[in-house]
């Protein structure tokens, strides 16, 4: 795999004109590709391949084991025209993303600002706030089930002590109106663990900017909006993009906690895809759903990228 590179001639002689072989840049490129080959192979075999397969499958009635016939755009037409649950799932997912992403960013940023203060025990707090990133899985979800338990849970017990009437306490996962807010509150907890990103960015904001702002008489709040946010905007932007993509694919929690209930209120897009693929064995239909989700996510990301020109500032950028 060394290509046809000839060894470079000694410097004392004039270089012979080379017709074949590689010049320095090409050689460098080849080595570069060689180094990323393991990843590239993995990507081609395990990501791009299956993606293209699922694209093809979305135009068939594929059920994994017994049929694989071409049905044209039928799956897509059915999804968009007949399937009320598809729209329900899309609506639930949009609702979740609309709240969980901005609130998650606000939470992470707020905690980062707090942990950026010079106080005693700062390291201890940073460790504590990082815990949500370390603790995951079903055990944590079961704890949340207890937190949201209408009768004996932490939240409702607290609200009851604060004087909320017994009959006005939310039923959380038992009530379609409260099930998604409960999941959004849960997501805040995970979002808190991502304060590290913002903290790293905050550390990179030059002190002298704050000093100049203070001399100009800017209040701390004004400083935050005029200095901090613009300077860490690339990180916020990054978290928006990844946050939206993540929120669109949020569903495993609903599988474990609510199975999509009550009354389909937590039937998220991913959960519906999963049920369609592995319970109903309609893999072709599920593939079509997955591709629609990809298109939606790409579209949103595209819009975000276009909007970002207005508010994201990269260092060293001349405007």
């Amino acid at each position: 795999m060394r290509g046809t590179a000839t060894s470079s001639p000694p410097l004392s002689r004039p270089a012979l004109p080379r017709r074949r072989g590689l010049n320095g840049r090409q050689r460098e490129a080849l080595w570069g590709y060689l180094f990323i080959a393991p990843w590239l192979l993995g990507f081609l075999c395990f990501v791009l391949g299956p993606m293209l397969f699922s694209l093809y499958a979305s135009f068939t009635n594929y059920d994994i084991t017994s049929r694989f016939d071409w049905v044209g755009v039928q799956n897509y037409v059915r999804l968009l025209t007949e399937d009320t649950r598809f729209w329900r799932a899309l609506g639930n997912t949009a609702y979740y993303a609309a709240f969980a992403v901005p609130l998650g960013i606000a939470t992470g940023l707020l905690i980062a600002v707090l942990l950026n203060q010079e106080v005693r025990g700062q390291r201890f707090f940073r460790t504590i706030f990082f815990l949500p990133k370390v603790l995951t899985g079903v055990a944590v979800l079961l704890l949340w089930l207890w937190v949201f338990n209408p009768q004996v849970g932490l939240i409702n017990t607290g609200l009851y002590r604060l004087g909320v009437d017994e009959n006005n306490l939310p039923l959380w996962f038992g009530d379609p109106a409260w099930s998604k807010p409960a999941l959004i509150i849960m997501s805040m907890w995970t979002a808190a663990g991502s304060f590290m990103f913002y903290l790293a960015a905050l550390r990179g904001v030059p002190r002298d900017l704050y000093e100049s702002a203070q001399i100009d008489g800017a209040s701390p709040v004004r400083q935050f909006w005029a200095v901090t946010v613009p300077l860490i905007s690339p990180v916020i932007f990054f978290k928006i993009i990844t946050g939206i993509a993540g929120a669109m694919q949020f569903w495993s929690e609903s599988l474990i906690l609510t199975k999509g209930g009550p009354s389909d209120s937590t039937l998220f897009y991913g959960l519906y895809i999963w049920q369609t693929a592995f319970t109903d064995l309609r893999m072709g239909y599920a593939s079509a759903m997955a591709w629609i989700l990809l298109l939606i996510t790409l579209l949103i990301t595209g819009v975000q990228l276009w909007l970002s020109k207005r508010w994201v500032h990269y260092e060293g950028e001349v405007r």
Partner: protein, 410 residues
């Protein structure tokens, strides 16, 4: 010449016999309670059959169906799998479970309870062997019966009595219930079971068309709704969320006077509340007379996935596992086996009750064209029972959705 042929055959057979075959068995038993028994069953088989060795792999319960499906699709499935009893026809229709009739399964029919045998029958052929099942009973607290002036030796037989007894058992402290006599959706009995209990079905005979809006189904959902309305939908839901498990089980702590649950629940009660004075009786029906769907059950079948390298040996093991293996399982685990003989080797009172209850137990299958119908049906139950939607309308909506899935799956 004949002699030479015979000798040659013997030699070949000997050759084949000397080749030991290893079979892969997948099941969801990995817990401290289950593991020793499955290990014992396999050791017993392996000792007897040096040429067919079985290797056991534990696959977590929720992953087993998808893992099996993926393995079948990848053409390297396990040879035998213990899998959900309700979806064997689906796997038969989708060419995932092997046709065991071709391997001689028909001759085993008489050894199994007919309603369980039927769970693995698809278009007249057999695609699995029943391993274990369960059947549901009404459990009632005798001490609480006495406390409210009910005769503890006269449990409810009809829906009417169930309702009257439950009202007597209800207790309120101020505005909230501290005890609820009975609620049809607490415990282990859903709408579909209650419809069968009332002598109806939400599917046509061969599971190809939903009949969610038939009069019995609508009436039954209406009944569940009335029951909830009387207690208050909010109370019913909030009360349920205070239920714990183990020693905090609502029936053990006296929060519920009566509950519908599986036969194995008796073992749970014995473990956590050995002194609880309770009765275990057949589920009440609208008329008081039992029928084929009075109780309902689930469980597991043994299947040989399509693509097994050794289908004959796999079938031989599955046959032994469903009969002799099930006997060991029943004795040690108290699960009710699908094989009649295996069920007779356990003589506890609970087991005798289960055995007698089998002919009144419906073990239904999921329709192959809409295996995921349950989540759609569940939504209609929730909408009607907890959110005030009209029962017929809720069922109509679910039926429309299910019909759509069926049409697109044809």
């Amino acid at each position: 010449m004949k002699k030479t042929l015979f000798l040659l055959t013997v030699a070949l057979l000997g050759q084949a016999g000397a080749q030991a075959v290893t079979l892969d068995l997948w099941a969801h038993w990995g817990s401290e309670q289950r593991r020793p028994t499955i290990n014992r069953i396999i050791e017993t088989w392996n000792k007897k059959n040096p040429n067919i060795q079985v290797k056991y792999t534990f696959v977590p319960f929720d992953q087993l169906p998808t893992k099996t499906l993926a393995a079948v699709a990848a053409k390297s499935p396990p040879d035998v799998v213990v899998i959900d009893i309700r979806t064997t026809p689906l796997r038969a229709a989708k060419n995932q479970a092997s046709n065991l009739s071709r391997l001689g399964a028909e001759s085993l029919r008489a050894q199994f309870y007919p309603n369980l045998w039927a769970t693995a029958t698809y278009k007249g052929d057999q695609y699995g062997l029943p391993f274990v099942t369960d059947t549901r009973f009404l459990y009632y607290n005798k001490d609480l019966f006495r406390e409210v002036g009910l005769n503890p030796n006269k449990p409810p037989k009809t829906w009417e009595e169930l309702d009257a007894y439950a009202r007597k058992l209800d207790r309120k402290t101020g505005p909230v219930y501290s005890r609820i006599g009975f609620h049809p959706l607490y415990g282990n009995f859903g709408l579909e079971s209650w419809v069968a209990n009332a002598g109806g079905s939400i599917w046509n005979e061969d599971l190809t068309a939903p009949r969610f809006t038939n009069p019995t189904a609508v009436r039954t959902l209406g009944w569940l709704k009335d029951w909830t309305d009387r207690l208050g939908a909010r109370n019913v839901q909030a009360f349920r969320s205070s239920f714990g498990s183990g020693a905090q089980d609502p029936f053990i702590t006296g929060k519920l006077g009566m509950i519908a649950d599986i036969g194995g629940y008796a073992a749970t009660l014995k473990r956590y509340a050995p002194n609880l004075n309770y009765g275990m009786v057949r589920m009440p029906t609208p008329t008081g007379q039992p029928g084929p769907g009075t109780s309902s059950g689930g469980g597991f079948n043994l299947e040989v996935p399509v693509g097994s390298k050794h289908p004959k040996e796999a079938y031989a093991f599955a046959r032994w596992m469903a009969t002799e293996g099930a006997r060991i399982w029943a004795v040690e685990q108290n699960d009710f086996p699908g094989a009649k003989n295996a069920s007779l080797s356990v003589t506890t009172p609970a087991f005798r009750l289960m055995s007698a209850n089998m002919k009144y137990t419906l073990v239904s299958s999921a329709p192959p064209l809409a295996p995921g119908y349950a989540s759609l049906l569940e939504k209609s139950v929730e909408d009607a029972v907890y959110r005030g939607q009209d029962a017929r309308q809720a069922l109509e909506e679910a039926q429309t959705q299910v019909q759509r899935v069926i049409d697109s799956n044809k």
